[in-house]
């Protein structure tokens, strides 16, 4: 059950991870507001450090990053050629702008993607894919500037750096603390064990989890109130550190099951 990734998928995602990691390490052309000096003050107020709408990626850097990702998509035939052709036309025509994609995905502006998809006829997953991966390069480089691993004073259901939702959780090795990982910028932060990060429900009756196998290090935490789920890996049951963006990709079978069970 657990080994269910097609080779093409794992090769493709591995290639994308390598691009993200390499470009983020370069930290070129990354500008965002407010500066790191204001991060602490904003976090105290419960605001994420960055204002998504102020993100101002350097145009050349963004274009270069886009071309690298595009090359990887083409190499693995991850998207249809007609769709990529259409995307290129829309970019030439100025109807899709990379910097705008980055800002909108960071702001969690779903309306923008729905509208753009409807107006251009481009599949939403294509737009979201490029937006997500470009934003990730940009944001994860920023996120490294946030002091304190697993910033433990935060305890909120959204990311302290970019304000987006968590995608996956882990129970960390030393004390079994529940650590959430941002769906966009990979930032880690500590969260309460018995609380739904999506709706804030902390009634233990509504919070359950299921596992596929009893001994598996993976489980799916679900909230009966908001019907959301979050995958969790127990780091004490695996060797080494769990890198959550990878664990998320490697455990897609759990998403499938959770959705079949009626969670989203």
């Amino acid at each position: 059950m657990e080994n269910n990734l097609p080779r093409e998928f794992s090769d493709f995602q591995g290639g994308i991870l390598e691009i993200r990691s390499r470009l983020a390490a370069g930290k070129r052309g990354l500008r965002a507001e407010p500066g790191p000096d204001q991060a602490e003050e904003r976090l105290k107020q419960g605001l994420p450090w960055l204002e998504a709408e102020t993100l101002n990626p350097d145009g050349d850097f963004l274009e270069m990053a886009f071309q690298e990702i595009l090359a990887m998509v083409k190499k693995h035939g991850a998207a249809g050629e007609e769709e990529l052709q259409r995307l290129e036309e829309l970019r030439q025509g100025g109807r899709i702008e990379l910097a705008e994609l980055v800002r909108k995905i960071a702001a969690g502006n779903a309306e923008y993607f729905k509208k753009t998809s409807a107006a251009t006829g481009l599949a939403p997953e294509i737009l979201v894919f490029f937006a997500e991966n470009l934003a990730r390069i940009f944001l994860s480089a920023q996120a490294e500037g946030l002091p304190g691993k697993y910033s433990s004073a935060w305890l909120r259901g959204y990311c302290p750096v970019c304000g987006n939702e968590p995608r996956m959780a882990k129970l960390e090795r030393q004390q079994g603390k529940r650590v959430l990982a941002c769906s966009l910028c990979d930032t880690l932060w500590v969260f309460r064990r018995v609380e739904c990060p999506y709706c804030g429900n902390s009634n233990p009756r509504d919070l359950r989890f299921f596992q596929v196998k009893g001994e598996s290090p993976y489980r799916v935490d679900v909230c009966e109130k908001c019907k959301r789920y979050i995958k969790t890996v127990d780091e004490r049951k695996i060797e080494g550190e769990a890198i959550l963006r990878t664990e998320d990709l490697a455990t897609i079978y759990l998403d499938e099951i959770a959705r079949k069970e009626g969670y989203r």
């Binding site: 080994n3 269910n4 990734l5 097609p6 080779r7 093409e8 998928f9 794992s10 493709f12 995602q13 591995g14 991870l17 390598e18 990691s21 390499r22 390490a25 419960g46 998504a52 709408e53 693995h76 035939g77 991850a78 998207a79 249809g80 969690g108 502006n109 779903a110 309306e111 993607f113 998809s117 599949a123 939403p124 997953e125 294509i126 737009l127 979201v128 909120r156 259901g157 959204y158 304000g163 987006n164 939702e165 995608r167 769906s183 709706c199 804030g200 908001c226 060797e239 080494g240 550190e241 890198i243 963006r245 990878t246 990709l249 490697a250 455990t251 897609i252 998403d255 959705r259 989203r264």
Partner: protein, 285 residues
């Protein structure tokens, strides 16, 4: 002690492998029988691999290996690339980050990174997975990791590493890091006039760097890849069965979509986190 560095001037390297031998001699490492060019597999048979490179890869017994690569140039003549490959001695060693036991992996004041063999052992080989260059190699019998030690004992005695000491053309140089950086820069400026592709690899954030005449790939030197561990994880999750989609029709980008609509699933997640103005609206906080 001031910070030191090893500078390998590939333009002077003659591919004699004296550094490889000196390394083995100083550290008492046995010769390895020729193996097929497969990392980690020592097959006890004499088989010509088609290359001067021997053994096929770095191993727990070979910490410094001269890599050889032959290639037909654009003019039809053979081009021969060779340079020693070993630990880069990173500024912030990722292997140290990956090691679960404190004190095993030491970043010395001299700049060298060495593994404390006494404390090392019996783990998930994370140093090897975390290393962006795939340098540390594991001895399966005693379950410990090995790699170039920067000849830390010699360096602390004011001597140069064994490979530096022995290098006949003086291609491998050792000294204060700033001095080595200056040398490398100056040499690069000279070399670049005839070799426009010349470069410093992997950079000055390391205590072992190269002056290369061509791109690192030409020398079979790995480009830093910080996702080796993640790729291994994804590979481990691969299906042993045939994928459930028809070959040629399968599109990874829409793979998530097939499981329930990547695009829409993502939207719902984002939707729930933000109100329509894009402001965060979360349980009264």
């Amino acid at each position: 002690m001031t910070e030191k560095a090893i500078f390998i001037d590939t333009s002077k390297c003659i591919g004699c492998r004296a550094c490889q031998v000196a390394c083995k001699q100083w550290w008492g490492l046995p010769a390895e029988l020729p193996a097929e060019n497969v990392a980690g597999s020592v097959q006890f048979q004499y088989k010509f691999s088609g290359s001067y490179q021997n053994p096929g890869d770095l191993s727990h017994q070979t910490w410094n290996l001269v890599r050889f690569k032959e290639e037909a140039g654009s003019d039809g003549k053979m081009k021969w690339f060779f340079t020693p490959d070993r630990c880069r001695h990173c500024k912030n060693p990722p292997c140290q980050e990956g090691c679960p036991v404190p004190g095993v992996i030491v970043k010395d004041e001299s700049g060298g990174v060495y593994y404390n063999v006494e404390k090392c052992g019996d783990c998930a080989k994370q140093c090897a997975e975390y290393c962006p260059f795939g340098i540390p190699k594991f001895d399966g019998d005693i379950r410990r990791a090995f790699k170039c030690r920067f000849c830390i004992d010699r360096v602390h005695e004011g001597k140069t590493p064994a490979c530096v000491k022995t290098c006949p053309p003086g291609a491998i140089q050792f000294g204060d890091k700033t001095e080595m950086m200056d040398k490398a820069q100056a040499r690069l400026a000279v070399i670049q006039t005839d070799n426009p592709e010349a470069n410093i690899y992997p950079g000055f954030d390391y205590n072992n760097f190269w002056l290369l005449l061509y791109a690192p790939e030409k020398y079979s030197l790995a480009q830093a890849d910080f996702t080796r561990k993640e790729k291994a994880r994804l590979a481990a999750a691969r299906t042993s069965r045939k994928p459930f989609t028809v070959a040629g029709f399968f599109k990874p980008l829409t793979y998530l979509g097939m499981l329930g609509g990547l695009g829409l699933a993502f939207f719902r997640r984002v939707d729930a986190g933000k109100n329509p103005e894009g402001k965060i609206d979360r349980h009264g906080k």
